[in-house]
Amino acid sequence: MEAKQTLDARGLNCPLPILRTKKSLISLQSGETLKVISTDPGSLKDMSSFCSQTGNELLSSQQQGKDFEFVIRKA
């Protein structure tokens, strides 16, 4: 499935991946998806906490080499 928008948060550290994710989600419509790529290992747990707190749905969360990839569906 192709995400509506992709956010490259590689090289950014806590809390920037989450703050940029929040910012990117603003421009999306409800139901549209955002793909986030990060290198911060902390973002694995943070992204899932962010989604459970904000009601957005974390469709997938996986490691690709040194990168972490997340797909989020906006609530």
């Binding site: 950014l12 550290n13 806590c14 809390p15 703050l19 929040k22 962010f50």
Partner: protein, 205 residues
């Protein structure tokens, strides 16, 4: 068995034990509903103006705002300096003995070495504080950690309430013009307590 049937039809049980169980269940449901509808809130008191002490309030406040929470920071005493238009903050190795002294650049092996610099050198040598600050700024940059100024801008953008202490301005002979116009209020202890009373998380940093 009788109670279970009554629950299914949602009628109120007439016996005491049944009524008790029914009330417990109803209360749990109501409380869960209220908790889900409530916007969580974070109220931080920032009292220190050095770079190391500026990170926690700005990181937590901006992240709370990203989570959709009500987020506010009350800046008082040395913390008020963090709201200056011309932000010049430093990190001091003096009285900060646990601060690691590591090179932000150079070969990998060198970056991992913690240089043992005696406190009387770190604290007394002219220019050491500026040197340590420059090193720390470089480290945050290479590690992708935002600068304090960047975090402060994000806080403003994302609607974090930046509240300033009125008494501190008088105490340190500041002028209000020296501070950023985005400050939402200049308040005292009473107003702060009243606003922080219902916060879910209150931190003193």
């Amino acid at each position: 068995m009788k109670i279970t049937e009554q629950h299914q039809t949602q009628s109120i049980p007439t016996d005491l034990a049944g009524l008790d169980a029914w009330l417990d269940k109803k209360l749990d449901e109501k409380l869960a509903q209220r908790k889900a509808a409530r916007t969580p809130s974070l109220a931080i008191i920032a009292t220190k103006g050095t770079m190391d002490m500026a990170y926690p309030p700005f990181i937590l406040a901006s992240t709370a705002a990203a989570l959709g929470w009500d987020s506010s920071v009350f800046f008082t005493f040395y913390g008020l300096g963090l709201l200056k238009k011309d932000l010049q903050i430093k990190v001091s190795p003096l009285g900060n003995p646990a601060m690691p002294m590591k090179m932000p650049f150079g070969p990998e092996w060198l970056q991992h070495i913690n240089m043992k610099i005696p406190n009387f050198v770190a604290g007394n040598m002219p220019g050491f504080e500026s040197f340590a600050t420059a090193m720390m700024e470089q480290t945050t940059k290479t590690k992708g950690v935002p600068s304090i100024l960047e975090l402060r801008d994000i806080c403003v953008e994302s609607g974090v309430k930046l509240v300033a202490c009125q008494m501190t301005v008088d105490l340190f002979n500041y002028r209000k013009e020296e501070f950023m116009p985005e400050i939402s209020e200049w308040i005292g202890a009473t107003t702060y307590l009243a606003s922080a009373k219902d916060a879910d998380i209150c931190l003193f940093i």
